[in-house]
C-alpha cells in the first residue's frame, strides 16, 4: 500500500538494492564461471597423455652389475588396484599394457633394439598393412620403416634376450632367448588411445645412449608375450595402466580434487611385492595452474565489484537519506501519537526495509543474467550453470548490508527530537561544517587510503582503496561546494549578476548539490579507473604477446641451413620487407646469454618491439665492415713465404716444425675448411706451401693460422705473398686486411706492412699456444652486438664474449643496448647475421626461424613452398594472434573485462542519483523558480538558471573524479594481476592509458552533463505559477 503511494522511490530503492545484491552475487558466480572456463580450456588444450593418468610398475635394479632371476612386474590389473577408486571414477576405462626394452640377437651394432609393447586393444588403433595382429606369445607386428630398414617381413623370426635365469645349484645364470615372429606390418592410426606414444620415427636411427646400437620402431606384441610362463621376463619390463580422463564429466572441482589426489600419489609412491609403482600425469600442474589463476581472479573481481557495490551502497544511503528526510512529518506524527522512537523506527523500517529486501531477488536474477551473458559472450567453454554455497553467502551479505544501511538511515531520522521533526524545513547547513558521520567516513576512508598508498596495506581492504579515496575526495568536495557556492552566489548577486547569482545560490541551497558532487566524483573516479585498468591490462597483454611471439608469424625451420633459408626468402621477398631469417643460439643453461643473429634492416621492420625498439642509428652500428672477402676458386692452392725466420721450439729446446694453414669458407654452403698448407721446419729464404682444397665452387679466405705442439713456442716472421690457384694469383696484402691476435698468455700473431701492397709481413710470438690464428678483416674480430640485460662477468668495458653461431666463444663489443629482444630471454645479444656467419658454421643446436611481417596465410604458404624448394621444412609455427589468445584466455584477462561493465554501471548509477535528487527536491526548486517567474524573470532566463544550477556540480564532480580515478589507478594497478603467469621478459607498463581516461571522462561529462541539462529544463518547465498557489494551500 505504502509502496504504491511512492512508486518511483520504491523503484529506485529496489533498483539500488538489486544492484548491490547483483554486485555481491555476481562475484562468486563469475568467479565460478571463470574457473569452469579455465578448467575447460586447460583440459581441452592438454594432450591426453598429460590429462590422463598412467601408472607403471617395475622392479628397479638394486645394485650389482648383472640382473637375473627378476620376477615379472605385477599385472596391470593389480597396478590399477593401487589407484584409489575415487580417483578412478574421473577416468574412462583403463588401458592395460606392458613395455620392455629388447635387442635383436646377437646385439651387434647392426642389430636393432626396440621397445616391445602390448596395449589392450592395440589392433583397433592400427592399420595393418600386411599380416595379422599378434595373438600368441612371441608374435609381433613391425612398422613399415622396419621392413625397409631391417628387411623384416611377415614370417621373419629372430631372437631377443630375456632376463637370464639362475642356474640350478647356484652356477652361472642361463641366458634365455625369446623367439619373436613377425606376423604383420602396421601403420599407427593417431588417436588419444596412444596417450602420445609414437610407435614410429626411430627406425634406422642410432641410439644416442651407449652402446649406440641401431633403433627400430616399436614392436607391438600380444599380452601373452609378457604373461606366458614359458617366456622369461624382459629387460626393463614394466606393466602399465593408462586411464584417459573423462573430459566431459570432469568439472573444475574434480580437476582440483584429481590434482590433489595425484599429488598425494606422486609424493607417496606405493609398491607391489617390491615393484615400485610410479604415476605420470600432468593434472597436478594443471590443477595448480587453475588454482593460481583463480587466486588472481579473486583480486581483480572483488576489486571491481566491491567498488561498484560501494558506489551502489553510497547511493542507496543517499537515496535513503533523501527518502527518510521526506518522511520526517510522518515520523513526527508517529512520535506525536505516542509511538516513541521505536514506533517511529518501525513505521519507517516497515516501509523501507521490505522495499530494499525486495530488490534481493531481482538482484540475484540480474547476477544470474550477467553471468549467463559472460558465459555466452566472454568466457569460452560450455560448463554447466551452478548455484553454490558462496552465492548464498553473497546474498546473505547483501541482505545484511541492505538491512544495515536501511536501519541506519531510519534510526538517523527517528532519533531526532519531535520538535526538530515538526519543523517544516529541516535545518540545513550552508556554511562549512562537518557532521560526525561524514567526519568518521572521511577519516576512516582517508586513513585506509593513506596506509595503502604508503605500502602498509594489502588484502581485501586494499582493493577498495580507489573507491575509498573517491569517497573521501567526493565528501570533502561536497562539503566545500555548498559554502563556496553560497559565497560566490552572494557576490554575484551583489555585483548585479542576478541570473548567475540566483543559479549558484540555488545550487548552494539545494541539499542535492552535495549529493551530486559526491556521487559524480565517485562514479567518474570508478569509471576512469575501470577504463584505465581495462586498457592498461589490454595493452600489457598485447605487449607481452608481441614480446613472446617476436613477430606476427614466426616459423621455426628444421636444420641449420641458413643459407638455404636465405635463398628461399630471397625468392619470396627480395627486399626483406615481409620475411627475414633469424638464428638463435641455444644456451647451455638458463642463465647463459643467448645470441640472436638477424639481418638488422629487415629485423627492425618485421620484429615487434613493444614499447619501441632501438633507433635506426643504433641498428646501423651492427652493419658489416666495408671490407671485401678474399675470394678464390680452384681445387689447389700454392703459397710462397719469403724471408721466413719462423721457428718453433719444444719445451726441452728441440726444434719443432710450424704448420702453416688457412681457413676457408665455402661460399655456397657456408662450410668452413681448416686446411694445413704445409710445415715450416726452420727459417728459410723461401718456403713453398701448397694443398688441395674443395673450392671449385668458390671459397673465401677467412683466416691464416700457425700450429705447433702444445707448450712449444713459436717466433719469427715471414713475408706472405700471393696465393695462387691455377692461373690466378690472389694477393693477400696489404696488412690492413688482417685482424691480428694478441693475448698475454698465449702470445700474438700480427700482420705488418710488407714491401708492396700485395704482401704483408707475418709476425708471430707464441708462448705455448698450439695454434695462433688471425682472421681476414671481412671476418669480424669482434662482433658488434646490441645487448639486452647486463654484460656477463669478466667483461671489460664494452668488450665481452658471446656464444657464436658455431657454439664457440666469440669476442664481441657492445655497440648499443636494447631493452628487450623480441621472443628472446632477458640476457640476449643481437648480432648481424651477415657478420656472425662469416667464417663460421652454424652449430647443430642453433635454431633457425623465419619471421613474417603479417599473418597472411598466402605469405606463409609462399614461404613454406620456397623453403621446400630449398629442401628446408617448416616446423613449428607461432602466430601472434595465438599467443595473444593464450594471454586473453586467462582469469586475469576475464576479470579485467568486468571493468567495462563497472564503468558503464557507475555512470548510470550517477545518472540515477541526478534523477532521484531532482525528484526529491523538485517541489521547492520549482516553487523557487515559479517565484522568480512571478517576479518577472523571463522564461528563458529561468530555463538557463535551472540548467546552470546543476551543471557546475556535475562538472566539478567529473573533474575531481577523473583526477581521483587516475590516482586510484596508480595506487591499485600494481596489485592487479594482468597475466596468468608473469612473462619471462617483463613488458610491464602501468602508465596511464590516456585515451581510455579521456573517453571515460568525456562519457561521464556527456552522460551526466546531458542528464543535468535535461533535468534542469524539466524543472524549469514545471515551474508554473500554479505551483505557488499549491504551496499556499
Amino acid at each position: 500500500m505504502r509502496f504504491r503511494y511512492r512508486p518511483f522511490q520504491a523503484a529506485v530503492i529496489g533498483l539500488l538494492a538489486a544492484l548491490i545484491t547483483a554486485c555481491a552475487a555476481f562475484a562468486p558466480l563469475y568467479d565460478r564461471a571463470m574457473r569452469q572456463a579455465l578448467s575447460d580450456i586447460v583440459i581441452d588444450q592438454t594432450p591426453p597423455a598429460l590429462s590422463g593418468l598412467q601408472a607403471s610398475a617395475a622392479y628397479t635394479q638394486q645394485g650389482g652389475f648383472g640382473f637375473h632371476e627378476q620376477a615379472p612386474p605385477p599385472p596391470p590389473d593389480v597396478v590399477l588396484s593401487k589407484i584409489p577408486p575415487d580417483l578412478r571414477a574421473h577416468y574412462r576405462d583403463p588401458i592395460a599394457g606392458y613395455t620392455a626394452a629388447v635387442t635383436k640377437n646377437p646385439a651387434g651394432p647392426a642389430d636393432p633394439g626396440s621397445n616391445l609393447v602390448w596395449r589392450d586393444g592395440e589392433c583397433e588403433h592400427l592399420e595393418l598393412v600386411d599380416g595379422v595382429c599378434p595373438s600368441r606369445p612371441g608374435e609381433i607386428v613391425v612398422s613399415e620403416a622396419d621392413v625397409d630398414n631391417f628387411g623384416f617381413t611377415t614370417g621373419t623370426t629372430f631372437t631377443v634376450a630375456g632376463i637370464p635365469r639362475n642356474a640350478e645349484g647356484g652356477g652361472h645364470a642361463t641366458p634365455t632367448n625369446v623367439h619373436l615372429t613377425v606376423t604383420g606390418v602396421y601403420r599407427q592410426v593417431p588417436s588419444d588411445y596412444w596417450f602420445g606414444l609414437l610407435l614410429t620415427g626411430r627406425s634406422g636411427t642410432t641410439d644416442p645412449l651407449p652402446p649406440n646400437h641401431l633403433q627400430a620402431d616399436v614392436w607391438l606384441t600380444s599380452r601373452k608375450t609378457f604373461e606366458s610362463r614359458r617366456l622369461p621376463t624382459f629387460p626393463q619390463e614394466t606393466s602399465t595402466v593408462a586411464l584417459p580422463l573423462d573430459r566431459e564429466a570432469v568439472g573444475v572441482d574434480d580437476l582440483l580434487t584429481i590434482g590433489t589426489a595425484i599429488d598425494e600419489l606422486e609424493k607417496h609412491p606405493s609398491a607391489i611385492s617390491g615393484a615400485t609403482v610410479t604415476y605420470l600425469s600432468g593434472m597436478s600442474d594443471l590443477a595448480q595452474n587453475v588454482r593460481d589463476q583463480t587466486d588472481q581472479s579473486r583480486v581483480t573481481v572483488p576489486l571491481l565489484m566491491a567498488q561498484l557495490g560501494l558506489l551502489a551502497v553510497v547511493v542507496l544511503w543517499l537515496v535513503l537519506l533523501a527518502v527518510t528526510e521526506q518522511r520526517r512529518p510522518e515520523v513526527a506524527l508517529a512520535r506525536l501519537r505516542g509511538r516513541g522512537r521505536r514506533g517511529a523506527r518501525r513505521l519507517l523500517a516497515g516501509e523501507l526495509l521490505p522495499v530494499a529486501l525486495a530488490g534481493v531477488v531481482p538482484g540475484v536474477l540480474l547476477a544470474l543474467l550477467g553471468t549467463w551473458f559472460a558465459r555466452t559472450a566472454v568466457l569460452p567453454g560450455d560448463a554447466p550453470f551452478e548455484l553454490r554455497t558462496p552465492l548464498l553467502y553473497a546474498v546473505l551479505i547483501a541482505v545484511g548490508v541492505l538491512t544495515l544501511v536501511t536501519v541506519l538511515a531510519v534510526v538517523r531520522v527517528s532519533r531526532e527530537p519531535v520538535v526538530t521533526l515538526l519543523r517544516r524545513v529541516p535545518p540545513r547547513r550552508t556554511g562549512w561544517s562537518l557532521g560526525v558521520a561524514d567526519a568518521l567516513v572521511i577519516a576512516g576512508c582517508g586513513g585506509v587510503v593513506v596506509v595503502f598508498a604508503t605500502g602498509g596495506l594489502d588484502g581485501p581492504i586494499a582493493l577498495a582503496a580507489p573507491g575509498l579515496l573517491a569517497i573521501v575526495v567526493g565528501l570533502v568536495l561536497a562539503h566545500l561546494t555548498t559554502p563556496t557556492a553560497a559565497l560566490v552566489g552572494g557576490r554575484l548577486l551583489r555585483g548585479g549578476r542576478v541570473r548567475a547569482g540566483v543559479s549558484v545560490v540555488d545550487a548552494a541551497r539545494s541539499p542535492a548539490t552535495r549529493r551530486i558532487v559526491a556521487i559524480v566524483t565517485l562514479a567518474t573516479a570508478l569509471s576512469v579507473f575501470s577504463a584505465d585498468a581495462l586498457l592498461v591490462g589490454d595493452r600489457n597483454r598485447a605487449s607481452a604477446a608481441e614480446q613472446q611471439a617476436g613477430a606476427p608469424v614466426v616459423a621455426e625451420v628444421t636444420g641449420v641451413d641458413v643459407l638455404a633459408v636465405r635463398a628461399a626468402l630471397a625468392d619470396v621477398d627480395p627486399d626483406g620487407t615481409l620475411a627475414t631469417p633469424v638464428v638463435r643460439t641455444v644456451p647451455a643453461n638458463n642463465t647463459a646469454r643467448v645470441t640472436v643473429a638477424v639481418i638488422p634492416d629487415q629485423f627492425r621492420r618485421i620484429a615487434l618491439f613493444p614499447g619501441g625498439g632501438p633507433s635506426d642509428e643504433v641498428w646501423k652500428r651492427l652493419r658489416a665492415p666495408d671490407t671485401a672477402p678474399i675470394a678464390l676458386t680452384g681445387e689447389h692452392v700454392d703459397l710462397t713465404l719469403t724471408d721466413s725466420s719462423l721457428r718453433s721450439q719444444r719445451v726441452g729446446g728441440d726444434p719443432q716444425p710450424i704448420t702453416f694453414g688457412v681457413d676457408l669458407e665455402v661460399v655456397d654452403t657456408g662450410e668452413t675448411l681448416h686446411v694445413a698448407l704445409g710445415d715450416i721446419p726452420k727459417p728459410a729464404k723461401t718456403v713453398h706451401l701448397s694443398s688441395d682444397v674443395s673450392c671449385s665452387a668458390g671459397c673465401n679466405l677467412t683466416g691464416i693460422w700457425l700450429g705447433t705442439l702444445p707448450g712449444a713456442t713459436m717466433s719469427g716472421h715471414a713475408t706472405v705473398g700471393a696465393l695462387t690457384t691455377g692461373d690466378d694469383s690472389i694477393p693477400l696484402g696489404p696488412s690492413g686486411q688482417w685482424n691480428g691476435f694478441q693475448d698475454a698468455s698465449e702470445g700474438s700473431i700480427q700482420a705488418d706492412e710488407g714491401s708492396s701492397p700485395d704482401d704483408f709481413v707475418l709476425r708471430v710470438d707464441g708462448r705455448g699456444a698450439s695454434q695462433l690464428s688471425m682472421s681476414q678483416a671481412w671476418v669480424p674480430g669482434q662482433l658488434p652486438a646490441l645487448v639486452a640485460g647486463s654484460l656477463p662477468p669478466g667483461s671489460a668495458e664494452n668488450r665481452f664474449t658471446l656464444s657464436g653461431l658455431d657454439g664457440e666463444d666469440q669476442p664481441a663489443a657492445r655497440a648499443g643496448t636494447i631493452e628487450r629482444v623480441p621472443a628472446a630471454a632477458p640476457q640476449t645479444s643481437v648480432v648481424n647475421l651477415d657478420l656472425a656467419e662469416r667464417g663460421t658454421e652454424l652449430a647443430p643446436t642453433d635454431r633457425v626461424s623465419v619471421w613474417l611481417a603479417n599473418e597472411d596465410p598466402a605469405l606463409l604458404a609462399e614461404v613454406r613452398d620456397a623453403l621446400a624448394d630449398h629442401h628446408v621444412r617448416m616446423a613449428a609455427i607461432r602466430k601472434l594472434s595465438d599467443v595473444r589468445e593464450s594471454y586473453d584466455e586467462s582469469a586475469a584477462a576475464w576479470s579485467l573485462q568486468l571493468a567495462a561493465l563497472i564503468g558503464a554501471a557507475a555512470l548510470l548509477i550517477a545518472l540515477l542519483v541526478l534523477v532521484v535528487s531532482a525528484v526529491s527536491s523538485w517541489r521547492f526548486r520549482t516553487r523557487d523558480l515559479a517565484a522568480l517567474r512571478m517576479a518577472g524573470v523571463p522564461r528563458r532566463s529561468i530555463d538557463r538558471m535551472s540548467v546552470v544550477a546543476q551543471l557546475p556540480a556535475v562538472v566539478i564532480g567529473v573533474v575531481a573524479g577523473t583526477a581521483v580515478g587516475l590516482y586510484g589507478a596508480q595506487l591499485a594497478l600494481p596489485i592487479v594481476p594482468l597475466f596468468a603467469e608473469d612473462p619471462l621478459v617483463s613488458t610491464l607498463d602501468l602508465d596511464v592509458a590516456w585515451g581510455a581516461v579521456l573517453v571515460a571522462a568525456l562519457a561521464a561529462l556527456v552522460v551526466l552533463g546531458l542528464g543535468a541539462v535535461l533535468i534542469g529544463r524539466a524543472m524549469a518547465r514545471r515551474s508554473e505559477l500554479r505551483i505557488l498557489r499549491e504551496g499556499a494551500l
Binding site: R4, Y5, G343
Partner: protein, 288 residues
C-alpha cells in the same frame, strides 16, 4: 448532533505556572514565553489568541510535551511535564493528549485512508492497554463515516481537517490541543470543524485548547486567552474581554488603554460608590 460512545473520556485539567520558554535563533536568545500562568479546568474549551509570534503555538507545543519549558511548571492532568521523562511523555501523547498540527495534511499519513489513519493513531494507546473505540465510531463522531475508506487525495479540505480531528480524537484523549484547526478552510467547513470540536468537548468531556487567529472562531469559544509578548495579555469570557492580574500582582493593560496612556503615566485605582474599581491618572482622567 450528539456523540455517543462506549468509551468514556475524562477531560484533563491544564495549568501552567510562571512558564518561561526561551529558544535560540541565529545566535540570539528569544523569550517566546515569559511567565505564563494559565489554568484550564477539565472539560474546558479555551482558545489561545494573539498576534503572530506572541507564543501561542509555543505554548501549545509545551502543553503537548513537544518542547521542554525553560522555567516554570506545566501540569497536564496529574503529570508535571517539565519533570516527565521521555517515556512518560510518549505515554501521555499515546493516551491522553493529542496535538492537531496546523494543516490537515501534517496530521495524516498520506498513504492511509481516514480509517487507517485513525487506527494508526490508536496503536500506541492500544498497546498501552487503553480501551479505544472502533475507528469507524471515531470517524462517525466527526462526521466522516462515509469517507472512512476513501484515499486522502479525494477528500475536500474540510473533510481532511475532520479526518485530522478524528485522528487526534482516536485514542480518546483527555486533552485536545489544536493549532489553527480552521485555517485554510472556507466558512462552512470551518463551522463544521468547530461544531465537531465543540461536540467532542461537550459530549466526551475532552478538554480542548486551540490556537486561532480568526475572530469568528474566538467568538464561538466560551473562553479565550490572549497571549501577548509572551504573557497572558487578557481573557475573554462569553464575548467580554478582561485583563488578567498575574499571580505577582501585575496587570497587563488592554491594548486600547495602552495606546492612550504613555509609558511613565501615573495611575491609581479608585473604588466608586457602586463598588467598582476606577483607574485614575495623575491629571484626574479616569478609566472605568
Amino acid at each position: 448532533m450528539t456523540v455517543t460512545s462506549a468509551v468514556t473520556t475524562t477531560g484533563m485539567r491544564v495549568s501552567t505556572s510562571r512558564l518561561v520558554h526561551i529558544y535560540r535563533s541565529e545566535g540570539h536568545e528569544v523569550a517566546a514565553l515569559s511567565g505564563v500562568d494559565l489554568d484550564v479546568p477539565a472539560g474546558g474549551m479555551v482558545g489561545l489568541l494573539g498576534p503572530s509570534g506572541a507564543g501561542k503555538s509555543t505554548l501549545l507545543n509545551l502543553l503537548a510535551g513537544v518542547f521542554r519549558p525553560s522555567a516554570g511548571k506545566i501540569f497536564v492532568g496529574g503529570l508535571e511535564l517539565s519533570a516527565a521523562s521521555d517515556r512518560q511523555l510518549d505515554g501521555m501523547r499515546a493516551q491522553d493528549v493529542s496535538l492537531m498540527l496546523q494543516g490537515a495534511h501534517r496530521n495524516l499519513l498520506p498513504y492511509y485512508t481516514p480509517y487507517e489513519n485513525v487506527r494508526f493513531a490508536q496503536g500506541a494507546a492500544r498497546r498501552a492497554g487503553k480501551d479505544v473505540p472502533d475507528p469507524d465510531e471515531v470517524l462517525d463522531q466527526v462526521g466522516l463515516a462515509d469517507d472512512a475508506h476513501e484515499p486522502l487525495a479525494s477528500l475536500t479540505p474540510g473533510h481532511l481537517q475532520l479526518a485530522a480531528l478524528a485522528v487526534a480524537m482516536a485514542p480518546r484523549p483527555g486533552l485536545l490541543l489544536a493549532d489553527e484547526p480552521t485555517s485554510q478552510l472556507d466558512h462552512p467547513a470551518r463551522d463544521r470543524v468547530l461544531e465537531r470540536m465543540s461536540v467532542v468537548n461537550r459530549e466526551l468531556g475532552t478538554t480542548v485548547v486551540l490556537v486561532t487567529h480568526d475572530p469568528d472562531v474566538a467568538a464561538y469559544l466560551p473562553r479565550t486567552i490572549t497571549i501577548r509578548d509572551g504573557r497572558v495579555g487578557g481573557e475573554g469570557r462569553s464575548g467580554e474581554e478582561y485583563a488578567v492580574i498575574t499571580p505577582d500582582g501585575f496587570l497587563p493593560l488592554p491594548l486600547h488603554i495602552r495606546e492612550e496612556l504613555a509609558p511613565g503615566t501615573l495611575v491609581r485605582f479608585h473604588r466608586n460608590e457602586d463598588g467598582d474599581f476606577v483607574l485614575l491618572t495623575e491629571e484626574g482622567h479616569h478609566h472605568g
